[in-house]
């Protein structure tokens, strides 16, 4: 490789484990710092919305959670696809590690959406295209996880849940474009790649910083779950505390 770095080296669980261990504290610290900044901007700097009053402040968790729910699904499907294509076990482990966090953000997007919907629309829930497709996303995450736990053979569980995840990725553009394709109650995108933002600068800044924070939080949590999965699944070598544990093991014998 021209860069002189063997990137394939990190595709093995043995190399991934210590690398992830070094990276997690950094992602976690920056996530906490950004959350502090984002909450400060969201609650103390961003003004009250002239239409929605202070209920709009829910978007500082709602929009990042909803974005993460869709984004994590795509990332999970990509890892699942790489796993199926290259038969790489770390890829399947990454897909497995992403699902619970993605499901959590989907649940939070639905819950905070209900909290926003009640005062704004007068209803906790409506069977609107955006809400319904997001609910289906939650079932998809549940399906990916349940399929895995219901199959005892690890390799078959990996492949089955990967195929399920890949097929389900069609729902993500449906969620994203639902507010354009159908006449929904859910408001259109406040931030768009083509037309820019329709929000006040401080509101937008708070929302983007919270999104970055959720992103880094997700990376930290997913990497640490992937490390757990490596320990659980790869029984052969001990990567952590190697000398000390082996010492005790030797003494015990």
């Amino acid at each position: 490789m021209s860069t002189g770095i063997n990137w394939l080296k990190y595709s093995s669980p043995q190399a991934f484990y210590p690398l992830a261990g070094r990276l997690i504290p950094w992602f976690a610290c920056v996530a906490v710092a950004l959350m502090g900044i984002g909450l400060y901007l969201g609650f103390f700097v961003a003004p009250t919305d002239f239409q929605q009053g202070d209920s709009y402040r829910i978007i500082f968790v709602h929009v990042p959670a909803a974005w993460m729910s869709m984004f994590l699904y795509v990332v999970m499907a990509v890892w699942a696809g790489i796993g199926l294509g290259l038969n790489a076990r770390l890829s399947f482990m990454m897909a497995q590690a992403i699902a619970p966090t993605g499901a959590m953000f989907t649940f939070l997007a639905l819950l905070t959406g209900a909290m926003w919907g009640k005062p704004t629309w007068g209803a906790w829930w409506v069977w609107d295209a955006r809400l319904t497709s997001e609910l289906i996303l939650l079932f998809q995450y549940a399906g990916v996880m349940l399929l895995r736990t219901s199959i005892d053979d690890l390799r078959r569980a990996d492949r089955s849940s990967a195929v399920f995840a890949l097929v389900g990725v069609v729902n993500v553009p449906i969620i994203y474009f639902s507010v354009q394709w159908w006449n929904t109650l859910h408001q259109g995108a406040s931030v768009s790649m083509s037309t820019g933002s329709k929000m006040a600068a401080t509101m937008l800044m708070a929302m983007l910083i919270m999104t970055m924070a959720f992103w880094l939080y997700s990376i930290a949590v997913i990497l640490s779950r992937a490390r757990c999965i490596v320990v659980e699944r790869e029984s052969q070598p001990v990567w952590e505390e190697k000398p000390a544990v082996i010492q005790t093991a030797a003494e015990a014998r």
Binding site: I58, L108, K118, V221, S224, C228, V231, A249
Partner: protein
Amino acid sequence: MQWGSASEFFAMGGYGLYVWTSFVATALCMVWEVLALWRRRAAARAEQRAMLLGGTDETAA
């Protein structure tokens, strides 16, 4: 800053219940996830240690 007092801040212009439920639920989910991972990690390491100490066949699940 638009808040005159702490009670005004917590009232959130009458939307306090909705706003704080959203933020508290999000915080609780994140804290729970981190704690659950902590326990999972401890359990995985304990199992691996037991496997190393007590031979490979009996303790391996």
